[in-house]
């Protein structure tokens, strides 16, 4: 008897898991409004410079040096090794040779050669546009999913899956707020991917629920949904498994730039898998999904 052949009662504690989700959800919103997100330059405006020195250095020394030339708030952290650093600078500079003036100052002040490997400068106008586009794109994706599921299933399914998606998005944002990882454009891309993946997961369970509903309109709904979750369980876990394997590989070997991105995806796959089992499916019970799936048979002679 393998692990997958067991039958688990997922719905027995459905209120408990709904409660946990609700707590996570609430805390995510509280974190978002109190602690906020560690917004990257994409959304805040400013300058990011990834630099590499020929010899090792201390991030504090670089920060002190940068503070000498009036750049507003400056953050410097090690980025992969003690020769590479990432400086986040509040200002974006009025002058078009802002970045080269920073480089000249650093080389003179620290008396070390430095290579600027990556530079991102985002003006406040652009950061506002990117924020707006980011919010719109997540909303647009959710709305399109809502419409698609409504079209393919019943409204209860549509609503259930969207609640699960919103749950995933909010809790992912909450996790970013709590941990303080930088929130930038690629994280929005990751969230949209999570939306797609979590939906994918939910649809597969829903598909099975619909199949069972058509077959049997007498069976207790709790039991029917539980059976559906169980019969798709091994697929759910195996697919999550392979996807996680691929993502963990990016997280550890893909370099610093993809770290936040792959973290968001790993977190999203976990939360998405959880939500399709413990949020999207039980919701159908609360919404009293339609039982009578038989097509109307014309019995008139």
């Amino acid at each position: 008897m393998s692990f997958y052949d067991n039958k688990y009662n997922f719905l027995k504690y459905k209120n408990f898991f709904m409660g946990i989700s609700l707590i996570f959800f609430t805390f995510s919103i509280i974190f978002f409004f109190t602690k906020g997100l560690n917004l990257g330059v994409d959304f805040k405006g400013g300058t990011v410079i990834e630099m590499k020195f020929e010899e090792m250095n201390k991030s504090e020394d670089i920060r002190k040096s940068l503070l000498k030339i009036n750049l507003g708030d400056v953050k410097v952290k090690e980025f992969g090794s003690n020769k590479e650093f990432l400086a986040t600078i509040e200002q974006k500079g009025k002058n078009n040779d802002f970045v080269s003036s920073i480089k000249n100052h650093l080389e003179k002040d620290l008396n070390k050669k430095v290579d600027f490997r990556r530079v991102e400068v985002v003006g406040s106008k652009i950061s506002k546009e990117l924020t707006r586009d980011g919010i719109y794109s997540v909303l647009l994706a959710l709305i399109l999913m809502l419409i698609y599921i409504w079209f393919r299933f019943e409204w209860q399914f549509s609503l259930g899956s969207i609640i699960a998606l919103v749950h995933d998005v909010i809790i992912t944002i909450g996790a970013f707020s709590l941990i303080g990882y930088e929130f930038n454009l690629s994280i929005v891309a990751a969230i949209l991917t999570i939306v797609g993946y979590s939906m994918n997961d939910t649809v597969i369970i829903y598909d099975r629920i619909r199949e069972f509903l058509k077959k049997d309109d007498q069976k207790d709904l709790d039991e029917l949904i539980n059976d559906s979750i169980n019969s798709t369980l091994s697929r759910t876990l195996k697919t999550s498994g392979t996807t996680l394997l691929a993502l963990i590989s990016i997280y550890f070997f893909g370099g610093e730039i993809l770290k936040g991105f792959s973290f968001a995806l790993i977190w999203g796959i976990l939360i998405g898998t959880y939500s399709s089992i413990f949020v999207a499916s039980p919701i159908l019970i609360y919404f009293k999904v339609k039982r009578n799936w038989e097509e109307v048979v014309d019995t008139s002679p």
Partner: protein, 517 residues
């Protein structure tokens, strides 16, 4: 579901032959090979290194200029028609004045004249005019403001192109974005600072005289700084010649002063004007003004009739070179500001590719082992379709010349993880069917049939997300959306069509045997 006609098998293999044909050139450095095309996957700026620079035209000075010109026109006409006006106010993009109500008809007549309020295109007007009892309000229409921006954008993009071409970067991509922005993409560039410096300057050059204190000139005098010395000049506003009269400018070296200079050449009109002005003003200082700064103000010793001249200003050789480029490529109508810049050095790009490929290989190895562990021989089938999938994704990217970015590589790796999903769905379904159906052929057949809608539904949702990403995203994120979308479609083909073909061969051979998944 398990039956494949000869034609179908032939088509599947044809697709793979195409795939391999477009896949291979990406890993060879063959030039003008007679067999393979030179189509390759386009690497994004974050992988090959380069700069993405978004410039915005500051159109405010142009609108100011236009409103000043309009107010001059209007006042002249008012005087000409003997209309009494007072309280003439010039606003940000509006004009207003008061008039005597008795002259109302005259005012209306003047304002409806098309020399004051000209047409834009077929239906638009330059101005929105409202006449109250004794007051006129004039506002620039949005059509006019957009026209000013559009003209400035068209002029600017040409000049930006000239300046970048002068520096000789390879394959720059320069396009307009929206109504007042220019996007410059410079692949392979190591250090964009010089280009940025060049793009920031409007490079408006004028030759004007320094004012004599007893000058009667009606246009007036302004005080301008010099860039190097803390020195202020009183410069006449009257322009002798400007940068438009230049036909050439080259960096040079002056033996006498032992410094770098810029030699220029004037066109016919400019040469004549310059000759006349210099003849009549021997002994005066001629200020050479660039972007409202006096570069130098030499004394005119002789009439200059050849149309050739020299600008000196304690330049370094690099500065004289830059100035020559700026003068040759022309002046921008308005300042350009960098509002977004993303630059990646080529070393970092290369490192990103290496790390991306490494994580792809490791991720793939993990998935391959996991599939074999879970499904044995069927895992091998899944893995063969996985490799075929990878080839198809890369070759599709090559055929369409799509851009592969770092998040794009992540998209491919993610696809590798998710691609096996369809296989997992199918095999898990087959397991269930085999429990109730003893005939292998029927069990596999029903499993494939039943699982089709699930695969479609689940993939379409991910595809929706990919489309939204492509539509809303920019640069690297777009690259991610492209690989994700291509990945989903090719996954469907490789697992549901090609994978099914592999499985069908195996199942037909083992019709009678007990199949264990």
């Amino acid at each position: 579901m398990l039956y494949f006609s000869r034609f179908k098998v032939f088509s599947i293999f044809l697709i793979f032959i195409f795939g391999v044909y477009f896949f291979i050139p990406n890993f060879l450095s063959l030039n003008n090979n007679f067999f393979f095309t030179d189509k390759k996957v386009n690497l994004g700026l974050d992988l090959q290194g380069g700069s993405y620079i978004l410039l915005e035209i500051d159109s405010k000075p142009l609108i100011d200029q236009k409103i000043q010109a309009k107010s001059l026109d209007l006042r002249r006409e008012l005087r000409k028609k003997n209309i009494n006006y007072n309280n003439f106010i010039v606003g940000i993009n509006s004009l207003s004045f008061n008039f005597n109500p008795n002259q109302r008809n005259l005012v209306n007549e003047l304002l409806s004249d098309s020399s004051i309020n000209s047409n834009i295109g077929t239906s638009g007007k330059e101005l929105t005019i409202s006449v109250d009892n004794d007051k006129v309000n004039i506002i620039f229409t949005n059509e006019l403001l957009n026209l000013i921006k559009k003209n400035a954008l068209e002029q600017s993009i040409e000049i930006v192109r000239n300046r970048i071409d002068e520096l000789g970067t390879k394959e720059p991509n320069i396009i307009t974005r929206g109504s007042d922005r220019i996007l410059v993409e410079l692949p392979g560039l190591k250090d964009p600072s010089e280009i940025k410096k060049l793009l920031g300057k409007t490079a408006k050059l004028t030759f004007r005289f320094l004012s004599n204190s007893n000058d009667e000139n009606s246009l007036g005098v302004e005080i301008l700084n010099s860039p190097k010395k803390d020195f202020k000049y009183n410069v006449e506003k009257r322009i002798i010649i400007s940068g438009e009269n230049l036909i050439d400018a080259q960096p040079g070296f002056d033996q006498l002063s032992n410094s770098s200079v810029v030699n220029f050449k004037l066109d016919n009109l400019g040469a004549r004007k310059f000759a006349l002005a210099s003849k009549n003003n021997i002994g005066r200082n001629l200020a050479i003004v660039l972007d409202n700064e006096v570069i130098s103000a030499p004394v005119i010793r002789d009439a200059i009739v050849t149309g050739n001249g020299q600008i000196s200003g304690n330049f370094s050789s690099q500065e004289s070179n830059e100035l020559a480029i700026l003068l040759r490529s022309g002046a921008l109508p308005a300042p350009l500001n960098i509002i977004e810049e993303r630059s990646v050095g080529p070393d970092l790009g290369k490192e990103s590719i290496e790390k991306g490929v490494l994580s792809l290989l490791i991720g793939m190895l993990l998935v391959v082992l996991y599939m074999i562990y879970n499904y044995r021989i069927f895992g091998v089938f899944a893995n063969i379709s996985l490799f075929a999938n990878l080839i198809l994704i890369v070759s599709t990217l090559s055929i369409f010349g799509s851009t592969l970015t770092l998040p794009g590589i992540a998209g491919i790796i993610l696809t590798v993880g998710m691609a096996v999903d369809s296989n997992v769905l199918i095999y898990e379904r087959v397991k269930e069917e085999l429990k109730i159906e003893k005939n292998n052929l029927i069990a596999f057949d029903t499993a494939y049939k039943k699982v089709l809608t699930t695969i479609l539904d689940s993939n379409i949702t991910t595809l929706i997300a990919a489309f939204v990403l492509y539509y809303m995203g920019s640069g690297p994120v777009k690259g991610f959306a492209i690989t994700l979308a291509i990945g989903i479609i090719s996954t469907f083909f490789t697992t549901y069509v090609f994978g099914r073909y592999l499985v069908s061969i195996y199942v037909k051979k083992n019709k009678e045997n007990l199949i264990k998944i």
